[in-house]
Symmetry: C2
Subunit: 895 residues, 2 copies
């Protein structure tokens, strides 16, 4: 079963060339995973609950003790006994109490700091090795070229191959997936140990190659992996580590840690992770992020000090701009220009990145060829990029020999290149030299650097290795800022200020502004400003940076989705798009405009035939339970799978065997007491009685646990409602039924496996059909069925804005629309997504979509949902043995 | 009516000595206000809707145009006509589209920057005036003392008096109120123009007095006032400025602007406002805050540049610490000590502040005396504080002659005082001299400063003037940090580092850390760290600051609520307390443990008598509507006021007059056709018919608007559900009814005002009672009643954690607990608050309250709710004329 499951998992994930694509609707998959997870956690949670009770008892005990202390004459227990019990219990209490959040966050921070430091160290060694090789071969340009090119190609190819083999989910940034997970969708395979190993090693190799790739997205993913694994590990020692809400909270903190220890930027890390992954942020989680990220950043920097890289803890890319007069007021328009241009640039980057992916996906021939030779694409891209950056070749015009880190350091330099006069007391003149070409102006070098790196980064981030795009974009932004700054410095050599004192323009400040603006535009975040301050260790340019970042965001957000949202759409992850900036028609669209009025429902007194018909025709994951077709009063919602299991129980082989047994018994009885009048009536009564007995017996080994009358949690979290949706078809107990076959296409014929062989299944197909017809006319007994008694309800007048808020706040999947208790419609994520993307008409008018330029690229998801049933059939078919088809069967099936 | 309303408002707010206290349950009040607001906005919203339709039509028009452009042969309209129409429509479009958020936020930022600058300017002048007076009188110490003391006493007294007269709601910080408002409670009087004027002028005078008061809390309030007023102003020009969700979003942005332009700290402002006011933060609002706060901070600083105060835009309290080696790793324990000590200090401050308020409240005699002479308390406190700071007196030992700003500047100085050797090139040596007393060590001065300022600030913030506590706490923290720093510098005169290079310790850095830690501890925020960086313009101490702030928060949060939460409790504002840090029993308490099982409900087919009884016995604000007492299927919830209006309609005078008219008519008919058999039957039929006609007629001028069948928005926002709950008693149409009198204690006898004088009310009391008995037996007609058809539902197994999340996310007031559609209980804020504060027992065990130390001080709110009905009676009595009481009435009343 477990093996089957993992096979199936592998099947669901289509390994396309660049990003993986999901063929299965991820929601369905996630629910299956949640069900499996829940099942495996069943035993543990029982023990956990007993632990909790233990603790509560301890509390009670302590209270009792206190009470006794108040009335000393009732104290009768020996003191030493008391103390030893107290010690044990206190210990227990401490473990469960203190061991909760603090220790977890500290461990997470420590772990991530170590990972970050080790990864950084390995990357530095890799890059040094390349430099050493390149430097050692300076006698022969061809050999030099070979060394320069082969090294990254090998590393990238290894990284791609390794990731592909070990865990294809480790490919890419990881932020889009974390965003989806934090919305409440369970993507369990994203948080496994395999993925962790693949991501860490793949990332190290990819960045060690010197390609324009970033590490901040993967670090978010790695931190989340750490948190998930640590949580699993800690749950061995008890505590509340299985709690679902808590896990989500911890993952949110982990995202902050990821960014925080990547840039040694705790505040920026927390803010960036909030902006990038959350829709609604619980302020009570705030401290978790800060705590863990600060600890992590602290350890990360302390490791550098201990390693004698630094004298004390300082910023990663320390700048030394003057403090007394950082910039002139009249320079602000230039900063604003940087912001606006970065906004366009950011949108272009996102567009370019998506264009490349879509172009290669569309070219069927290329795609097919590259899919066969999976590693060819990474190798080719790497070859192209490294060829162009080869320092003696074209690279000399674009500072090709500098690594990402070195370029950033030189770009943030506080000297002015354009004037080339003032030499200050800086010791990394060597690196700055790379920008000065004897024949070519520094402006040309900068422009070439920006243009080349721009498309190279967009291309490189499509390689299927673990990589992000933040750092390359950051460097490009810095280069752009430096370009503007140098131009300003050349234009106003003595500064703009007119007050007599000469304050020359600092192009490094422009570079800082540009870096923040461009990375903010690509990711649609404002907190890049904070990251920049923490990276450079100076906050003097706060106003220019903020102005530029906000302008860049304004421009970029109105043109394109963020890079992460773009990848979410490319990967077709289940995610609700954001409402745009101030599109006020959102307040005017009502639920009644977008809801589906033709709701599939079942009534409380329906018979199995109705159930059968509803399951055959509908395709929603949950069905509404109403009181009656006339009153339409909504009582709750039932999972489709629950209904299928009800139906399969009713038509299942065990029941049929029981029926045969009864029939035989009745036959025997009738034979013996054939003269007794009214026996027909009596036997029927007996049969009725026995049937009830059977049905309760049956419930003990049916997949639905016998919790009658006990309601479940409401549909506030997807994973909490949806339980084992596919278990029923794979269970060995539901193998029968002609009518059932209509649902599952081919029924498993595992009769040989049955152990209750005391009765022979001698019914003919006709008899079975008759029996099933009889069974279908019985009224449904909902006692063993899990009903969500409080599905979320809306009313017709709820605005789209509010609906979106509620859906994203509560992570809803669907909500019923009621009018005074009467069910009148249903809204699901699909309708909502459509409405937001603009394909809904309000009062006959087409509302302009906020992201119109993007809508066409994301194919509609309705197709997926419509084929869900067929998929269920197919899967079932592949897992069970084929059975001979009778004409009546195929007739019914063709219906 | 309007006058009545404002009178009533004044009555509800009990002007206690320090903080005002609400005698009316604020929820009720807020709902009334919401209803009034809604009514006044009725006409406007109609025009708004027509505008919207206009816009949509425009969109359609444009679409049509585009289509026409695609098929040019259908183009028939003359071009110039087209252009003019287009111009007009484009203009309209631009106004409504662009005019939305950007312009609003820019205007808000601009306005607040101006306000902030003007207030700062006035404060500076006030402080200068005091210095000038004090300096000019240096010949006579007594005169000097008089001048030193009289000036602040006069200013504070004026401020207190002015605020009290104009708008008592302007007293205090404003952050607690904003927190409550952002949770969804409408406190409308907090956002009026009067309050704005009172707050600005009161704040300026209060701060101008030189007392240890802050301005950041009031600025949050002022910014929110600006936003609310601006929103009202903008709505004159159309747009969507009435939208409720939008207003909340704008208020959240305004809070950020308030902090941002107060400290010129846009990032810190946004973060601080989020931490302080929100429970769940919508990330899509993030940019609003940043945009407005940045713009505001920018303008605020630009004004300073234009005023020639500064040469360019820099930080407010610029520091000049060395960048290359800001601190040594081995200094970190000292920073941690500052953090932990600040945590304890912060908790102590909150406790002390509350203690002072409660002490004075409890001393009945003092309280009564001070209540009579309202301005005496502020004057006395000011006298005490200013006497103690008198520079030639005790003030010489605590740098008394420095203003808050000057002390902060000197405390953040990067020279070391303890060594007293190194004089650097700073020009404000004059201020630093204040710390150096010829006889007394600088350490003693610092300790005295800290101790004196500590209790002075805690005392001063209880004065009923507009003031905050952030800045005084910030200064005390800086002094504490400086104390630790100076001690370290004295202990390690050559720095700690052992590598040969001497890096002396920078006590100014410690001051920065201390300031952030103490203010973080008092407010329970982490973002004070960011504020500190923005204030000082240096981020080099990021790690020490973060470590200290987090430690301070950890300590303070486990000891005391934040200052703002403390004030919320003192003022008894309706607010849901936070869940504590990682109290995992929250996950184990279920709704079934805390819900009220004895739910008041009404059935769909109940008669008016049931309604009457339910209204008499219950005290909840909403009642559940179930299908029948047997099925208990929840159909919706109805406001108490709605039911009261139903009842008063049924028993009202108009109906009775109609009845009399009909009776007279029937009498007449019977007189004329006395011989006709079956006339009794016929007349009854007629009467039936007429009555129906009347009841529909009546609905047109009944306060319940005739929207039959049209459901309302669900109970997601308090203000949206609750409509005009007290209008019904004040309406002139419900003046009658013995049974009704049981609800409203005394019925208004405005018979003379009635204009339908064609029928004489000749019924005797007995007849009326009989008629009413008859009426009460009729079945309730819910057609004209507003039913919330989708009240929020929970199930028994929902955990307390989740319930709290849902309540705070959606701003719920109550939620019904259902089991498969059946109503089984109800949870309201009260139960939830009790459960969180620990007075609930789970499985018979008392759960330890997370804030046990605090629980006793906040009195339970159940008393308030129980007396709600009586209050309704009393208010009704006070507003209507007295009427003679019959024995039967008082009998029924005593029931």
């Amino acid at each position: 079963m477990a093996g089957d499951g993992s096979d199936q998992r592998a099947l669901q994930y289509e390994q396309t060339l660049m990003y993986g694509r999901y063929t299965q609707e991820l929601g369905v998959y996630a629910k299956e995973e949640a069900a499996r997870l829940r099942e495996s956690g069943q035993r543990r949670s029982v023990s956990d609950r007993s632990r909790t009770l233990d603790l509560l008892e301890y509390d009670k005990g302590r209270c009792a003790k206190c009470r006794r202390a108040g009335y000393p004459y009732v104290l009768e227990a020996p003191a030493h006994d008391f103390i030893s019990v107290c010690t044990v219990r206190c210990q227990k209490f401490l473990i469960s109490r203190v061991g909760e959040d603090w220790i977890f966050l500290i461990l997470l921070g420590l772990l991530m700091a170590l990972v970050s430091w080790v990864v950084d160290f390995c990357i530095a060694i890799c890059l040094q090795a390349q430099k050493w090789m390149y430097g050692g071969l300076d006698s022969n340009v061809f050999l030099q070229y070979l060394a320069w090119v082969t090294y990254p190609v090998v590393l990238i190819t290894f990284s791609a191959g390794f990731t592909q083999i070990l865990a294809p989910q480790a490919v890419g940034s990881g932020i889009p997936e974390m965003k989806t997970i934090l919305r409440g969708v369970v993507l369990k395979e994203y948080l496994t140990f395999k993925t962790f190993v693949a991501k860490v090693i793949g990332l190290t190799c990819a960045l060690g190659s010197g390609m324009p790739l970033g590490k901040e997205g993967p670090f978010v993913h790695i931190a989340s992996l750490c948190a998930a694994l640590l949580s699993k590990f800690m749950s061995l020692f008890g505590g509340i580590y299985e709690n679902e809400s808590r896990n989500i909270e911890m993952l949110a903190a982990a995202c902050a840690v990821g960014v925080g220890c990547c840039f040694a930027a705790p505040i920026g890390g927390v803010l960036f992770s909030i902006e990038v992954t959350s829709t609604f942020f619980a302020v009570r989680n705030y401290w978790r992020g800060f705590f863990a990220a600060t600890f992590s950043a602290f350890i990360f920097r302390v490791l550098a000090v201990w390693n004698r890289d630094e004298e004390t803890i300082t910023a990663l890319f320390k700048t030394r701009f003057r403090l007394d007069f950082p910039f002139d007021l009249q320079e602000l328009p230039a900063f604003a220009v940087i912001g606006i241009a970065s906004g366009f640039g950011g949108a272009l980057f996102v567009y370019l990145n998506r264009l490349i992916v879509q172009f290669i996906r569309k070219q069927k021939a290329i795609n097919r060829f590259l899919m066969k030779k999976r590693l060819l694409y990474p190798a080719l891209v790497t070859l192209l990029v490294s060829t162009l950056t080869f320092p003696p070749g074209f690279g000399q015009f674009m500072a090709g020999k500098l690594t990402q880190k070195e370029s950033l350091v030189t770009l943030l330099d506080n000297r002015t290149w354009a004037k080339q006069g003032i030499a200050e007391e800086f010791d990394y003149i060597g690196h700055s030299q790379a920008w000065k070409h004897p024949q070519v102006n520094v402006f040309v070098t900068l422009v070439l650097f920006i243009v080349m790196k721009f498309w190279m980064s967009a291309l490189a981030t499509t390689i299927p290795v673990p990589c992000g795009a933040f750092m390359p974009v950051f460097v490009i932004g810095a280069a752009f800022g430096r370009l503007v700054g140098e131009s300003m410095a050349a234009w106003f050599p003595d500064g703009i200020n007119t007050d007599g004192t000469i304050y020359p323009i600092v192009p490094g400040g422009y570079a800082v502004v540009g870096a923040a603006a461009l990375s903010g535009a690509v990711t649609h975040t404002v907190s890049t400003a904070v990251i920049v301050f923490e990276l450079t260790g100076q906050i003097s340019h706060i106003l220019p940076v903020m102005i530029a970042v906000i302008l860049a965001n304004a421009v970029a957000q109105s043109l394109q989705p963020s890079l992460y949202d773009s990848i979410i759409r490319i990967k077709k992850l289940p995610y609700l798009p954001e409402l745009g900036w101030g599109h006020h028609e959102k307040y005017n669209i009502r639920v009644e405009d977008i809801m589906v009025r033709d709701v599939r429902y079942i009534t409380l007194n329906c018979c199995y035939r109705d159930l059968h018909n509803v399951l055959l025709t509908g395709h929603l994951k949950t069905l509404a339970l109403v009181e009656s077709a006339e009153s339409m009063i909504l009582l709750g919602s039932i999972e489709r799978a629950q209904l299928q299991s009800l139906l399969s129980q009713q038509l299942g082989r065990p029941r049929r065997l029981e029926y045969i047994r009864e029939r035989a018994l009745a036959e025997k009885k009738r034979m013996s007491v054939v003269s007794n009048p009214g026996s027909e009536d009596g036997s029927q009564r007996v049969s009725q009685e026995v049937r009830f007995q059977i049905s309760t017996e049956e419930s003990t080994f049916s997949p639905v646990r016998p919790v009658p009358q006990k309601p479940l949690k409401p549909a506030l979290k997807r994973s909490s409602v949806v339980e084992r949706p596919t278990e029923i078809p794979t269970s060995p107990h539901d193998n029968s039924g002609i009518a059932l076959k209509n649902l599952f296409c081919a029924s498993p014929d595992a009769e040989g496996l049955e152990d209750d062989g005391d009765v022979e299944d001698d019914m003919t197909i006709r008899e079975i059909a008759e029996w099933e017809e009889m069974q279908l006319d019985e009224q449904v007994n909902f006692n063993n069925c899990k009903i969500d008694p409080a599905p979320f309800q809306l009313v017709e007048r709820t605005s789209l804005h509010k609906t979106h808020t509620i859906f994203s706040l509560l992570g809803l999947d669907h909500a019923y629309v009621t009018s005074i208790g009467r069910l009148i419609g249903v809204v699901s994520l699909k309708e909502l997504r459509k409405a937001i993307e603009g394909s809904v008409t309000v009062k006959g008018v087409k509302v302009r979509p906020p992201l119109a330029s993007f809508r066409d690229s994301g194919t509609s998801s309705s197709e997926n949902e419509a084929t869900e049933l067929h998929k269920l059939w197919d899967r079932h078919k592949s897992m069970s043995l084929p059975r001979e088809h009778t004409p009546s069967e195929s007739d019914e099936k063709s219906q």
